[in-house]
């Protein structure tokens, strides 16, 4: 009788522990890509942030873009003065990003870019408008409108770049690829980054934000 009572008490305790462990498990097994602190930024919504940023801040800022040919001349003349006058940099580093605009004639269509020639006086400046996959922070940082310290962590700040780039790929590049043919004139506003003055100026690589293709 005593043995049966012990068995019932034991079974009740075991069942209680089992129920407790079901609701409060000692450990969870999660895939590597869901482990770690990167899962913590679920509350930030880069899509809606960029949606608002694009129409309310980015497009209005286009009027403040520096002329691409003028920028090239300014960097060649005095890189530090050009950085101070027109460049944006997040934190410490030797790369500066710029919001630029210009109008040029299409001279060739390349694998992931359209090559433009901008004639300013006697100077000719080559610009490569990017038409392939867009990577990096050139647009996020090039406008100078977004501050890393306004975001809870660096992952949220980086998610902005991915979303801005996705938007450019979906909304800007298809039109550019479709309508750019050799000989037509294109007006663009976009962002460029310059790290090495000896290799990043000719051609100037620009991620376009706005493009207007003018009839030949």
């Amino acid at each position: 009788m005593r043995g049966l009572r012990r068995l019932i008490i034991g079974a009740t305790i075991a069942a209680g522990i089992a129920v407790l462990l079901y609701f409060v498990p000692l450990f969870h097994i999660v895939p590597l890509n869901q482990a770690g602190p990167h899962a913590a930024n679920a509350t930030f919504d880069p899509v809606s942030f960029v949606d608002k940023f694009w129409t309310e801040r980015l497009i209005p800022a286009a009027s403040k873009a520096v002329d691409a040919a003028q920028l090239v001349a300014a960097v060649q003349q005095d890189p530090e003065a050009a950085r101070q006058a027109h460049g944006h940099s997040v934190g410490l580093g030797s790369t500066y990003c710029y919001l630029v605009s210009g109008t040029g004639r299409v001279v060739s269509l390349e694998k992931d870019s359209v090559r433009l020639s901008l004639l300013v006086g006697k100077r000719q400046v080559q610009v490569l408008l990017q038409t392939g996959n867009i990577f990096g922070n050139v647009v996020r940082d090039g406008t100078g409108l977004l501050n890393v310290n306004s975001f809870a962590n660096s992952q949220d700040f980086n998610a902005l770049s991915a979303e801005i780039n996705r938007r450019i790929e979906q909304q800007v590049l298809p039109q550019l690829r479709k309508r750019a043919v050799v000989g037509v004139s294109i007006h663009f506003v976009g962002c460029t980054e310059i790290t090495e003055e000896d290799s990043d100026l000719q051609p100037l690589r620009v991620v376009p934000l706005l493009v207007e293709v003018q009839a030949p």
Binding site: P37, G93, V148, N153, N158
Partner: protein, 313 residues
């Protein structure tokens, strides 16, 4: 390299003695996540040297990647009347409580390299822009490996934000190319010996890979060692991250493809100078200062060395 690391550790064990700082100078603690990695030794030593140069008595503490040891160091620092902490955290979430305790005790904390998941605890955080560095690395990876191929990824510590910033930056590029297949992704804890062991095991099941992406240079060195042992070092391309001197040298010798140069000396110097300014009364610091990571490859490797750019001012 292990004897070299041991030698450096021996030198570090004596830190605090023989410093040029005046006797009775305020003390600054340099708490580093691990000294079992040359990159962190450079970070810690530079922070100590700069704090000493600025007139403080600096002491290095090694957390050995153990949050419990890190917490004990903070207890020690708070009890011993340190004036400031130059801090390289072990865990983005777990280290927040330590920083808060120091703050409550009136000790300012300046994070270096690694982020904590709080913006109201440390005075400032000088952080490597890992994500962007790995975006650039990912683009170079596609250029070198091509748009088709099989690769392995060795991750760092899974609790560290940098591990995922690097991995996500890399994948934001490489995943756009469906022909590039990741056949294995495993953590080797940022550790060279563990990377050697992990890649040796992975090569058994995946003998025909084209590349290995490693979340830091210590793991890249371990991975390269595993490939040499398997006789595959010429067919498998290795990519690292950190800008460690041994990897930069192997890039120059065309044995490793590329790395992302972080700037441990720049970060340590900025943190030490911020601490000195804070202790003199300045309070206006940005919470986060990202430090750009630069891609180092065969074409530009001659511009880099000694954990930075050779032409740095």
């Amino acid at each position: 390299v292990t004897p070299l690391v041991l030698l450096l550790l021996t030198v570090l064990a004596g830190c605090g003695s023989g410093s040029p700082a005046k006797q009775g100078a305020p003390k600054i603690a340099v708490i580093i996540s691990t000294l079992n990695n040359p990159w962190f030794i450079v970070l810690g030593n530079t922070a100590k040297e700069d704090a000493t140069r600025l007139g403080y008595d600096a002491v290095i503490f090694d957390s050995q990647n153990d949050p419990a040891k890190e917490a004990a160091h903070f207890d020690n620092v708070i009890a011993s009347g340190y004036a400031a902490v130059l801090f390289n955290p072990t865990d983005a979430d777990g280290s927040v409580a330590n920083v808060r305790r120091a703050k409550q005790a009136g000790i300012p904390v300046f994070c270096m390299d690694r982020e904590i998941n709080a913006t109201d605890a440390a005075v400032s955080q000088i952080l490597s822009d890992n994500y962007s560095g790995c975006v650039a690395l990912g683009q170079y990876f596609v250029k070198q490996v091509g748009e088709t191929g099989k690769y392995v990824e060795l991750l760092g510590l899974v609790g560290d934000n940098n591990t995922w910033n690097r991995s996500k930056g890399f994948h934001s590029v490489v995943d756009r190319y469906p022909g590039l297949k990741m056949v294995a992704q495993q953590s080797a804890d940022f550790d060279r010996a563990k990377a050697l062991e992990v890649l040796e095991a992975l090569l058994q099941g995946n003998p025909a890979i084209d590349a290995v992406f490693c979340g830091n240079d210590a793991m890249a060195m371990g991975a390269y060692q595993a490939l040499v042992a398997a006789g595959k070092e010429k067919q498998v391309k290795v990519f690292g991250f950190d800008g460690a001197d041994d990897v930069v040298k192997l890039i120059a010798e065309a044995k490793i493809e590329a790395t992302g140069m972080q700037f441990p000396k720049l970060m340590a110097r900025t943190a030490a100078e911020s601490a000195a300014k804070y202790l003199k009364g300045e309070r206006d610091f940005p919470q986060k200062t990202p430090v750009a990571v630069e891609l180092v490859h065969r074409g530009n490797v001659n511009k880099y060395g000694d954990y930075g750019r050779k032409d740095a001012k």
